[in-house]
């Protein structure tokens, strides 16, 4: 039991070490301090999204709308600060509220109609993306106030990028919520057996909606960081990031079946994806090769992880033959 648990929680870390070692030896310029910081900065946004996604996944749902939410929030916040000349704080709060509202709509719809969260959030991703384009007729929003650049591009102690700090804080908070609070355990209960949770007096509707709101809210935070990183509101921002966030979660051991996985795995997951993308790019692999390798590694990590949990190959094959 304990032994099994160890393997299962460590698959992602082992993979991370393996990948990092391979790149360090095989790729010139990979194993430098500067590149380490670059990787950190590059995974920061995915880390924020993945942390939010993990709430929804563990609660037994999925949120494919985070990439579009990120874009919409970025656009609205940018417009609020430029065209509408709102104070930065107000614009940020507005952006956050939009993210949370989108999450709330996702959660409420899934709760009321009992529809598949995959479909609900997929539909929402189309809606939010369309709206992101419509806010400024498809054009990006430039000329943001210079002061906001620090969020996406600044450093703390001259070395640690600010987005990394934001991500770290969010992951620490998230892990705390999962492990130590009622809400965290209720989310596990909801994802593990919603009927049991309900009959145990857990307000499952509230908990579910809250999980989606957290995901939406963190997508909004990611949107603001992204906006600052590219120093503009971009309607195409975050395109496909929902899948990267999902992958980071799953690679980190969070099951799409719900009720299982540890938030801390998100860290491992996001680094595996981040190191891989960065290392391949620096190694000069073509985009085509990168796609194949990314797909292959994704399959490999999750397969190994899943296999180490379900036990022997031959046993399984025999049983269901």
């Amino acid at each position: 039991m304990t032994k099994q648990l160890n393997i299962r929680d460590q698959a992602v870390w082992i993979m991370l070490v393996v990948i990092t070692l391979i790149f360090s030896f095989a790729v010139e310029n990979f194993a430098t301090f500067g590149n380490f910081i670059t990787i950190l900065r590059q995974v920061a946004i995915i880390g924020i999204l993945a942390m939010g996604m993990s709430f929804v996944l563990i609660a037994g749902g999925i949120d494919l709308s985070v990439g579009s939410t990120l874009a919409l929030v970025g656009m609205v916040t940018a417009l609020a600060m430029t065209t509408y000349q709102l104070p930065i704080e107000v614009a940020f709060i507005l952006g956050l509220m939009i993210g949370i509202a989108i999450g709330a709509v996702n959660g409420i719809m899934v709760t009321i109609t009992n529809m598949s969260p995959l479909i609900m959030t997929l539909g929402m991703s189309y809606v939010a993306r369309g709206l992101a384009y419509m806010t400024n007729n498809g054009y990006p929003v430039y000329e943001l106030p210079p002061s906001i650049k620090v969020i996406g591009q600044g450093y703390i102690f001259d070395t640690i990028p600010v987005p990394v700090v934001i991500t770290a804080v969010i992951i620490i908070l998230g892990t705390f919520v999962f492990n130590k609070t009622h809400l965290g355990r209720q989310i596990y209960a909801l994802g593990g057996n919603s009927e049991a949770a309900r009959l145990s007096g857990i307000a499952i509707n509230q908990v579910r909606i809250l999980a989606y709101m957290i995901s939406g809210g963190l997508a909004a935070v990611a949107g603001i960081v992204m906006m600052s990183r590219v120093n503009s509101g971009q309607p195409l921002a975050g395109n496909g990031l929902e899948m990267d966030a999902l992958i980071a979660c799953v690679v980190g051991g969070i099951s799409v079946q719900g009720g299982q996985g540890k938030a801390v795995g998100v860290i491992g997951g996001m680094f595996v994806m981040g190191v891989l993308a960065n290392g391949m790019a620096i190694a000069g692999l073509s985009d085509y090769q990168q796609m194949v390798v990314k797909g292959g590694v994704l399959i490999l990590v999750v397969a190994v992880d899943s296999y180490s949990r379900t036990g022997s190959l031959m046993g399984w094959l025999r049983q269901g033959k």
């Binding site: 355990r185 209960a189 145990s200």
Partner: protein, 496 residues
């Protein structure tokens, strides 16, 4: 209103799609500090009544009074707050959480925001000690067998300060000794003034603990009596509306040659099991919870991996590699956990019943639906499955009727060796009798049966021989003339 009455129901009705009167104007009251047995055939409405009390279901109409106060718009949370604790017939546990977290689910110790994990585990251990079971509070529920899950359910209900404790067939998966420790708990709670509502199909238990007995039939309360004023036959008559012979039906035809033989079978916790089953014979497997009975037979059926030993069918060694293979060899198995292993809750009853014989029903892969329909309606009638249509989903059936559907599936399969794992779990007297008759019928046709049962009466009543197991090992084979409750219990608790 009765002064002692804690809980009073007035005119409760509840309908489901296709079942217009699951509850049909139920009025009943429960007195403080008493054990009320709720009895009735499968589908009589017992579980539904209980679920309206805990707000798992909303009744269509009617009123519920608690301590004389009308309770409106009840939610599960409110029910718990009001001190109504329920152990449901179907488990309600979260597999991926620890035992301790399940016990305190929805009510964890800690402050407003955070939980106190150490406290949760300590308190859980305390409760287990009180009910005399040995489960690691940190184990994950998904790793427990069904009987242990039942014990966790009990602990969960006890973790709350209940004034009304409702138990829906809590002993269906338990053996006599765990059941006895449950009764001791009930006795203690009673002394503390807790009201108990207890649903069971086991008469001996009812007469052991009940103060008053409420009998339901077709969604209505047909009789409320003091337990001391009614006897077993009277109770059966009230439930079923007719007499059902109490004794186990006799089989008086000769048994044949050995069909199935286990030689030194082992794997998992199981070691070295040896016994044989003859044509037309029922071999009972007895033992305490976790003795490994299910595990042995799952190995025979190739549902689990076997490490050692030989299995002989008609004297020839067989090595089934998968359940499909086992079925093809003529072995059938009714699993103990109908919800997870037996039934397709979301597929029609009809499909459930023919699932093991699809190949036989089809010509060149195309199903013969006419044949399927006649076969299914015949079986439904024979077993008395209470359902509006064969296309009904098992999810909407009462627990006992679900069990009958599972039995139908294997009756249809016509296997030469049948393994019945807790065949009458949650089944009412009438239907029980029906299942026994069917089992005897199978014997008459020359089929060899292995029956795992935790119901002592059934084990003693139905078996030709009893293989007793303890902690994964076979401790004794009892022949008919050695049968007694004491003998089974003695060998079941023999340490290695």
């Amino acid at each position: 209103m009765d002064k002692d009455s804690v809980l009073e129901l007035k005119n409760i009705t509840k309908s489901f799609p296709g079942v217009p009167r699951a509850l049909d104007g139920v009025s009943v009251s429960f007195a403080r500090g008493k054990v009320h047995a709720l009895m009735g055939e499968n589908g009589a409405g017992k579980s539904t009544l209980i679920k309206t009390l805990s707000a798992a279901h909303m009744p269509n109409s009617g009123e519920i009074y608690l301590n004389g106060k009308l309770i409106e718009n009840m939610t599960p949370h409110m029910a718990l707050k009001l001190g109504i604790g329920v152990i449901y017939q179907e488990f309600n546990l979260v597999p991926a959480l620890s035992v301790a977290e399940n016990v305190f689910l929805g009510d964890m110790p800690g402050n407003m925001v955070t939980i106190d994990r150490a406290e949760v585990e300590r308190k859980t251990a305390e409760i287990f000690k009180e009910i005399e079971v040995d489960i690691d509070p940190r184990a994950l529920v998904q790793d427990l067998t069904i009987a242990y899950k039942q014990l966790v359910e009990i602990a969960k209900a006890l973790s709350r300060k209940v004034q009304i404790l409702i138990l829906d067939e809590p002993t269906a998966a338990l053996t006599a000794s765990e059941a006895e420790s449950l009764f001791r708990i009930i006795d203690r709670l009673k002394v503390r003034g807790v009201t108990i509502i207890y649903v069971s199909h086991r008469f001996s238990e009812i007469f052991r603990i009940a103060d008053s007995i409420t009998v339901m039939r077709d969604g209505r309360v047909v009789q409320v009596t003091d337990a001391k004023d009614i006897d077993r036959n009277g109770l059966i008559r009230a439930m079923v509306g007719r007499d059902v012979s109490d004794a186990y039906p006799r089989r008086d035809f000769p048994v044949g040659d050995v069909v199935l033989e286990l030689k030194g079978v082992g794997g998992g916790i199981v070691e070295n099991v040896n016994f044989a089953v003859r044509k037309g014979e029922i071999v009972g497997l007895g033992g305490l919870v976790g003795a490994g009975r299910t595990e042995v037979m799952r190995m025979v059926f190739a549902a689990d991996k076997r490490d050692t030993g030989h299995i002989l069918l008609d004297g020839d060694e067989i090595a089934p590699t998968s359940p499909k293979h086992a079925v093809a060899l003529g072995i059938g198995m009714l699993p103990e956990d109908r919800k997870h292993q037996g039934l397709f809750l979301e597929l029609p009853i009809k499909w459930n019943i023919t699932m093991a014989i699809l190949r036989k029903l089809s010509v060149a892969t195309v199903l013969n639906k006419a044949k399927e329909n006649t076969l299914v309606s015949d079986l439904i009638k024979r077993m008395g499955v209470k359902t509006p249509t064969p296309m009904q989903l098992p999810r909407n059936l009462s627990g006992g009727n679900q069990q009958k559907v599972g039995v139908c599936k294997w009756l249809a399969a016509g296997s030469r060796v049948m393994i019945f794992d807790e065949p009458t779990r949650g089944v009412d007297v009438g239907a029980r009798r029906e299942i026994y008759t069917q089992m005897n019928d199978l014997c008459r046709q020359g089929i060899a049966i292995v029956m795992i049962s935790s119901d002592m009466e059934e084990l003693l009543g139905m078996s030709d021989r009893i293989v007793v197991m303890s902690e994964g090992e076979q401790t004794r084979i009892l022949e008919k003339d050695e049968f007694s409750q004491e003998a089974v219990l003695f060998h079941a608790s023999t340490a290695k």
